[in-house]
Amino acid sequence: MPEMTFASAAPDEIPISLTINGQLHRLDVTPWTSLLDLLRETLHLTGTKKGCDHGQCGACTVLVDGTRINSCLALAVMKDGAEITTIEGLGTPDNLHPLQAAFVEHDAFQCGYCTPGQICSAVGMMSEGHASTRAEIRELMSGNLCRCGAYTNIVDAIEDVMQDGRPAVREAAE
């Protein structure tokens, strides 16, 4: 897409376009609007959660051009032209994404607040392709906190999907 320069002297709204879960949106945003707030407040895609709003918890994780990032630390205006995938774009109640199904199967959540971020992060991590062991999954998922402490089952769910449906060996205790 063509490069643009905005020589605005005063802060104002800037037109951007984003493809979100396959649908093109043309939006006017103030430069200080985070991608997270745009998704939740403007587009009402509230599956993406605001936990800490400081990049410390991972609840706001979405995929931008296929790459997982913290949407709370991303300014929407800087993502002009990008393709965004949120939890709403991964599956439907009748047709769950394999990770969504695995999280249900493995009881990989309690309150569920971190779950959309966990699942988007896991999708990103799997496409990055650097995790093959439980220790590596745990390390590369460490940006997603779960205050209910469902970590063992979260790793089970991810490992299950990575092993293409084969049952994962559960850890006795962690």
């Binding site: 320069t5 605005s8 990032i69 991303a74 990055e128 220790a135 745990r138």
Partner: protein, 338 residues
């Protein structure tokens, strides 16, 4: 967040001009630190200059056998780059010891150098801070200072530089390429960050309007004799209390040269050339490693809560040197320290 104007230049020259012409303009790339600081009103730029679409995203061969890493290469792309993993595994390891998968995807090479301290008082605008508001005081001195510096601090500031990547870059003797209103220059890594002294507001030696365009590494060295050992309050996704990047040149069972850099202990990645020289010509041994550690820490000073860091650093240096000498670098996904 305080409102600001947004500019998206199409060249380095335009970007440098945009920031250089306004004292309140700032470059933004990954934004993983700057956006957070703006949310706390620690940083209140009136203009953000978005450099993310500039062509600084490649890792290229250099004439000296090294590489030139574009400032906009993400931390993740750098850490997982095939050549970096093969020739500079110390750098890959240090990057992967820091932050999280999401943050490494967003954060840039240049931005990693320019990230600011995580001192609690610096982040809390309700408290004084000489780094944030020069002359207002340093409540970390005599306050809560578990994460603070034990080396090179001043009566004005005891903050630490939080980067892991920069600790490896210090040990690898990187060179920072910069473009500013007065042209281009190259800054040896040891001269890039600075100690707080009586100007803690200056984290580094850049002038306003100067932009990091690349980080250059000299030809690869150390072979398998390197490690990045990071010790922190939890096993992942936490800043270092103490970290050590160590690289040894070895021949015939002896150390021919050494590079040691410490993170989490000072306002900049800490190197001590005299301590490195102590190891030259020596066979690896607990005694010589202890001597090097003692030398590095000879002027270490605790602030109360962080007194433990002095002994922790001593042990970490020795352990890192053992790992490097044995050619068994710390694996970041493996939480046991060998």
């Amino acid at each position: 967040m305080t409102p600001f104007a947004y500019v998206r230049p199409t060249s380095v020259a335009e970007a440098v001009a945009a920031v250089g012409s306004s004292g309140t303009a700032r470059f933004i790339a990954g934004g993983t630190n700057l956006v957070d600081l703006m949310r706390y009103d620690v940083e209140t730029p009136q203009t953000l200059v978005d450099i993310t679409r500039l062509p600084l995203k490649t890792i290229e061969d250099a004439e000296n056998g090294g590489v030139v890493i574009g400032a906009l290469v993400s931390n993740a792309d750098l850490a997982y780059d095939e050549r970096i993993q093969r020739d500079y595994p110390l750098l890959s390891s240090a990057i992967l010891a820091g932050a999280s998968g999401q943050l490494r995807n967003a954060a840039s090479t240049g931005g990693n150098l320019l990230q600011r301290t995580r001192c609690y008082y610096f982040y809390d605008v309700a408290t004084p801070c000489n780094k944030r508001e020069p002359g207002s005081g340093c409540p970390a001195i005599g306050g809560v200072n578990r994460i603070h510096a034990i080396l090179g601090a001043s009566e004005h500031c005891i903050a630490t530089h939080p980067s892991d990547m920069c600790v490896a870059l210090a040990a690898l003797e990187a060179v920072v390429h910069v473009t500013g209103p007065e042209g281009e220059r190259r800054i040896p890594f040891a001269e890039f960050h600075r100690l707080p002294g009586d100007r803690p507001q200056d984290d580094n030696t850049l002038k306003h309007g100067e932009m990091v365009t690349a980080v250059a590494l000299p030809a690869p060295r150390f072979g398998a004799h390197h490690t990045y050992l990071k010790l922190r309050d939890r096993l992942s996704y936490a800043f270092a209390l103490v970290s050590v990047a160590a690289g040894l040149d070895m021949a015939d069972g002896r150390i021919t040269d050494a590079r040691i850099a410490l993170g989490g202990v000072a306002h900049k990645p800490w190197r001590d050339e005299a301590a490195e020289a102590l190891l030259k010509g020596q066979a690896p041994s607990p005694a010589i490693f202890a001597a090097a550690a003692d030398h590095i820490l000879r002027d270490a000073k605790g602030q109360g809560d962080n007194n433990f860091k002095i002994d922790l650093a001593r042990r970490a240096i020795q352990r890192a040197l053992e790992q490097a000498a044995a050619g068994t670098p710390q694996v970041q996904a493996e939480k046991r320290v060998n």
